[in-house]
């Protein structure tokens, strides 16, 4: 199989719009969480979420119409706009333009989402009930379908290669990058634009995830303290929104055009828990086998990994199970490993989490610094692993692992290395 590298990155997150805007605030230990004021929350258990800050992109903020024409923005749910914004950033960053027909046909898009246009579906259901079918927009379906993020990006940039989407709940973003890297490795495409996007925040998602007992409910008066992976007071995740998109290409293609190379995707692992629809298996075997497969595919020893970006959602059950699985994989080398959950800062971006966090892992290598796990005041268990509490840690980082686990017992791990 051909070697695959990352040559462009783009982010829209609750810390900002743009890679540097987000990364600076992440390293500063800031949180994107706040109390929900956009809709009624008084009857909901969880009344906080991590929102993308709105405003001009020149200030590192997000304004939908700077990334998509106003008439298009009206037609789609926001996950598509976030995907367009992050893809645009990544493509510009990569310096790649598909100019010839051949280049267009060998460039594809693979962008997923966990729940896509959930808010649009919910609102249109109400409209249908109250006003009847003649008021349902012709853009209702194409503006909610998950693969339309990839569709819109391909139309904008004239990428005519594989056009695909992943839907694996909270593993989506990682699976998208892993699967897209495979398409490049196997020669189905020279360049792939890949990642995840999500715009879940709304009454219906807060009610639904709340009913699953997955959300934080005890920090409504202290939103920025709500996401606290590994801390003994954690009580669920804080929902976030955004997108993370990368440009992947074959190493030869990147070299031939003199592209800057962030990292090589050297390992990709996948597994299923085959256990429960929402809960991870207590023995962490699914997570362990997923990481083991990624490391094996990378052809390295776990001890070569310097930093792990954990799935670590801040749920009482999940964090310790993942931590134990990582300790099992790393064995004696766990003592020199750094692992953090950046969900402590940005919240849980569901289908976008895996790709956003893969980008954070790449930046950790670029700058030689591990982003912190904020709010980790009192770890619930002792671990030989350095969980990078509160403050980032400077250290040379050459190889990283990024974990994502989703409802349904679906797991994905990516191993990336400096080139």
């Amino acid at each position: 199989m051909r070697r695959v590298v990352i040559t462009g990155i783009g982010l829209v997150t609750p810390l900002g719009c743009g890679v540097e805007a987000t990364w600076t605030r992440l390293l500063a230990g800031q949180s994107g969480a706040r109390r929900v004021t956009e809709f009624e929350v008084s009857d909901l258990g969880c009344q906080i979420a991590s929102f993308i800050p709105r405003g001009p992109k020149s200030e590192g903020l997000f304004e939908a119409t700077e990334w998509m024409e106003a008439k298009e923005v009206r037609k789609v749910d926001e996950f598509i706009v976030y995907a367009m914004a992050a893809a645009e950033q990544a493509i510009v960053d990569s310096g790649f333009k598909a100019k010839t027909v051949e280049e267009q046909e060998s460039t594809g898009v693979l962008i997923g989402s966990g729940i896509g246009g959930l808010n649009g579906i919910a609102n249109t259901s109400i409209l249908l009930k109250e006003q009847g079918p003649r008021r349902v927009s012709p853009f209702f379906i194409p503006g909610r379908l998950i693969n339309l993020a990839a569709g819109y990006v391909s139309i904008r940039h004239q990428f005519k290669g594989p056009n695909h989407a992943v839907v694996t709940a909270c593993s989506t973003g990682a699976h998208a990058i892993g699967d897209a890297a495979r398409l490049v490795a196997l020669g189905d495409a020279e360049v792939m634009v890949a990642g995840g996007a999500e715009s879940p925040i709304g009454r219906i998602a807060l009610a639904g995830f709340g009913a699953c007992r997955a959300l934080s409910t005890g920090f409504n008066d202290r939103p920025t303290a709500g996401s606290r992976p590994y801390d003994k007071d954690r009580d669920g995740f804080v929902m976030g929104e955004g997108a993370g998109i990368v440009v992947l290409e074959s190493l030869e293609h990147a070299k031939a055009r003199g592209a800057k190379i962030y990292a090589e995707v050297i390992g990709y692992g996948m597994s299923g828990d085959a256990f429960h629809i929402t809960a991870p298996a207590a023995d962490g075997d699914g997570a362990y086998r997923c990481m083991r497969m990624a490391v094996k595919r990378a052809g390295i020893d776990p001890s070569e990994i310097d930093y792990v970006n954990a799935h670590g959602t801040s749920t009482p059950m999940g964090d310790e199970i993942e931590l134990a699985a990582v300790e099992r994989l790393f064995g004696n080398s766990a003592g020199k490993l750094m692992m953090s959950s950046t969900k402590s800062s940005i919240g849980h971006l569901l289908g976008a989490a895996g790709s956003v966090e893969a980008i954070f892992s790449v930046l950790a290598m670029r700058d030689g610094i591990a982003p912190p796990t904020i709010n980790l005041d009192n770890p619930s268990v002792e671990s030989p692993i350095d969980l990078v509490a509160h403050k980032p840690k400077k250290r040379e980082i050459n190889t990283v692992l990024s974990n994502s686990f989703g409802f349904g017992g679906t797991n994905a791990s990516l191993v990336m290395r400096r080139v």
Partner: protein, 86 residues
């Protein structure tokens, strides 16, 4: 220009994202204003909502230009071509 013509043109500008000068009575939604078939469906819905009427599908098929829309709505606004809007 009639009040109805004004309101029609405003809707066209908003929905198709085109400059007001281009929205002449002879302008075709698809050929001159860049609409696709879905846009035209949505435009008709917007007219229905603005003018509180129902535009049946067979009538909508003949609304191809800004002028067609104005003519139809001048005759049918409020009263509706068929049933009142739900």
């Amino acid at each position: 220009m009639s009040d109805i013509a004004d309101r029609v043109k405003k809707i066209v500008v908003t929905h198709l994202g085109v400059e007001a000068e281009k929205v002449t009575e002879n302008a075709s939604f698809i050929d001159d204003l860049g609409a696709d078939s879905l846009d035209t469906v949505e435009l008709v819905m917007a007219f229905e909502e603005e003018f509180k009427c129902e535009i049946p599908d067979d009538a909508a098929e003949h609304i191809l230009t800004v002028g067609n829309a104005i003519d139809f709505l001048e005759k049918n606004a409020g009263s509706s071509a068929g049933k009142p809007a739900a």
